[in-house]
Amino acid sequence: MSSAYHDEGFWRKYVFSTDHKWIGIQYAVTALFFLLIGFCLILVMRWQLAYPGEAVPIIGKLLSEEGMLTPDLYNSFGAMHGTIMIFLGVVPLAVGGFGNYVLPLQIGAPDMAFPKINMASYWSFFVGGVVMLASFFMPQGAASSGWTMYPPLSVIQTTGETMWLIGMVFLITSSLLGAINFITTVIQLRTKGMTWMRLPFFVWTQFITSFLLLLAFPPLESAAILQLMDRLAGTSFFLPSGLYVGGEVLNVSGGGSPLLWQHLFWFLAHPEVYVLILPAMGIVAEIITNNTRKPLWGYRSMVYSLIFLGFMSFIVWAHHMFLTGMGTTMAAFFQTTTMIISIPSVIILSAMFISLWGGSIRFSVPMLFALAFLPMFGIGGLTGLPLGLASADIHLHDTYYVIGHFHYIVAPGTLLALFAGIYYWFPKVTGRKMNDSLGRIHFFGTFIGMNGVFMPMFIQGLAGVSRRLYDGGTTYLHAQPVLQWNEFMTISAILLGLFQIPFIVNFFMSIKRGKKVSSNPWEATTLEWAAAPSPPIRHGNFSSVPEVYHSPYEYNVPVNGTVEEFVPQNKVLEVE
């Protein structure tokens, strides 16, 4: 099979590659780089929150004459932290990285359905990322009206906002190209015998995620272009007339609505939350079943919940907008859908908890991360409850409670799962294992650090401290009883940063020096482990087309009175 492909030159092989594995690696490495940048931005912001107005150590001179983070920069950093983490970090890593690398392998495909579109997807993402980073060097800096870019503020702000919108158009295009590819690949390129109910859960999550991207992103892409026109072409899609800005009446024709942007934005951005979380669930399911040595409990109900979840995620968006002057009918509808969507999440999470029962649990490094994901995602999900009820949201809206809530979903939730995925699939990608001890140090530091950063946010949020305050609410009376947490959170964030050093060292050291392993070091059952360790970067993944005979997680199968430890999907299972 592999002989059908000729060797390509360096540029075609390693830069403008069309091989899904290399594109996956490109995505993952770029995304990890952006995650680091996004984290550095927030570290500087957290310094300012703990020690308002004090010079930032080391890099202070780059920020301002006095060395402190100025309010303008604080807002820029805040907007770009959100944008970078979500659109340039987590999604590209979860979907672009893991999806690209693992999904074709797991379904036994030789590559993606459209390898060139796959390449275009990565490079569109790359250009989007460069545009976003370049916006820091525009006069007056990067976008500074929050990652949500609410007009009119975003329209009257600096040139960085234009860059943000252009960058966003590239990023969305990238996601759309990827989504089409994933969907086609899963539908068309499943290997022989890979029926829908034999798909690994991870493939299901990627499949549903791709639908979310495909259907939710176009509204935001058009909205971004409309806002671009508001900024550059003098239209006013999102601007009403009679605004008074900068000492004069804003010269626009008016007639637009700022709420229209919010609807279009959240129509994407709520499904986007599930784009962030579903692949993470997929990774965790893979690792849990592998490390408990037993099948996933309730696989079918998990798949159905997943599909339902994907569908429901399109009709909950306005729960971000309860306080924009919503009437009872709208509020009742979106509260109800929000409560309904919590049920499939509860089912999936419960199934994963229950999967542990009766297992023979190996506490490997990926398993530690995957296990930590469960309660962390639980906290994130449960704290969404008061935010989803419009009345409780009146008090919590736009406070640190919201920040705590979605960070528990995305940081101790998704990010831990992504780390788990990196440790889990690293041997497949490189043929070597990452160091175990460094991995454990990384895990415990990260777990404790993240909770230290995010748990106090619930307390500050309950006190009513608004988010996006440059000084963390120092001057507000109602913030006084909870201000002391700021320093605690900042120190936790610094520790969290320090505990990423073992990971970075481990990651690069293990590429060259890690312990060499066989093709299936975790004794797993899914198809990616049937490919060679570190499969060569060229189209065609398997020496022969694999055939699938049974469901994905056949561990400890009772067969004719004995027990098969694990039965890979491409191995015939003699059922009793």
């Binding site: 308002p52 107005g53 301002s64 004459e65 006095e66 402190m68 100025t70 309010p71 303008d72 006069p139 007056q140 900068g246 000492g247 440059y470 000084d471």
Partner: protein, 247 residues
């Protein structure tokens, strides 16, 4: 042509020397007055309650709006007088020393300021409260800026690259605060003081058009001729403008 070139050399020389006060050159002085009954400037002490740190600085004395400050006999303060025509084709270097505008007591001091293109302008914050410096130039080439200055941030330095009369500066946190900056590519400008007088020094011989600019009373112009190192007087008398006709 020759004369002009010579003229330029002389001017260059003059500027150089006037900076060190060795050479007086010609000068224009005068008084700017408002004819008629000037309005009473409203006290803004009460408004300052919006920011307790501002109000605390003005507990015992009135602080007033400054859109028309006239003395007992109509001596008009804060009028920007500058050479509008007569220096065409000449080039002047910009001073490196900074002009300053201070945010003190939640008002801008001074209210009207003249600077040269490229000259640094230091915006100070003596108040220890948050100010937001929002400059609104209209001429292409001058960058608008909008900078928040928290209490701890004591100074920012900015400049404008293109002549513009006048650039409005306002504070969004304390909306009553406003100042005007005139930017010229030559050093011949002045702002009237409490007694309504101004002096423009070091002018080389020539015919000039002087303009006096006031934020609400608009502008008046006058032509003067400088022959040597003499002092020419040019006074301006502003009147209350006509009542707007109902449209």
């Amino acid at each position: 042509m020759k004369v002009r070139r010579l003229n330029r050399k002389i001017t260059g020389f003059a500027v150089l020397l006037s900076a060190t006060s060795l050479f007086a050159g010609g000068s224009v002085t005068g008084t700017v007055k408002f004819i008629g009954k000037a309005p009473q400037m409203k006290a803004i002490n009460r408004q300052m309650a919006a920011d307790p740190l501002c109000a605390a600085q003005h507990q015992d004395a009135p602080v007033r709006t400054e859109w028309l400050v006239a003395g007992e006999n109509g001596e008009l303060k804060n009028v920007y007088v500058y050479v509008k025509e007569g220096l065409e084709g000449q080039e002047f270097s910009s001073p490196e020393s900074a002009a300053t505008i201070d945010q003190n007591g939640c008002i801008y001091i001074p209210h009207v300021l003249g600077i040269q293109v490229g000259q640094p302008i230091e915006i100070l914050n003596s108040d220890g409260t948050l100010h937001n410096v929002h400059a609104l130039p209209k001429v292409k080439g001058n960058d608008a800026f909008n900078v928040a200055m928290p209490g701890m941030r004591k100074k920012i330095t900015k400049k404008f690259d293109v002549p513009e009369v006048m650039i409005k500066i306002k504070c969004d946190v304390h909306p009553w605060m406003g100042a005007y900056v005139g930017v010229l590519d030559h050093p011949y400008f002045s702002v009237t003081d409490d007694s309504g007088t101004y002096t423009i020094e070091g002018l080389p011989p020539g015919n000039y058009t002087l303009e006096a600019w006031h934020e609400r009373l608009k502008t008046l112009t006058v032509t003067v001729t400088i022959k040597g190192d003499e002092a020419v007087e040019a006074n301006f008398n502003f009147k209350r403008p006509e009542k707007k006709k109902d449209e």
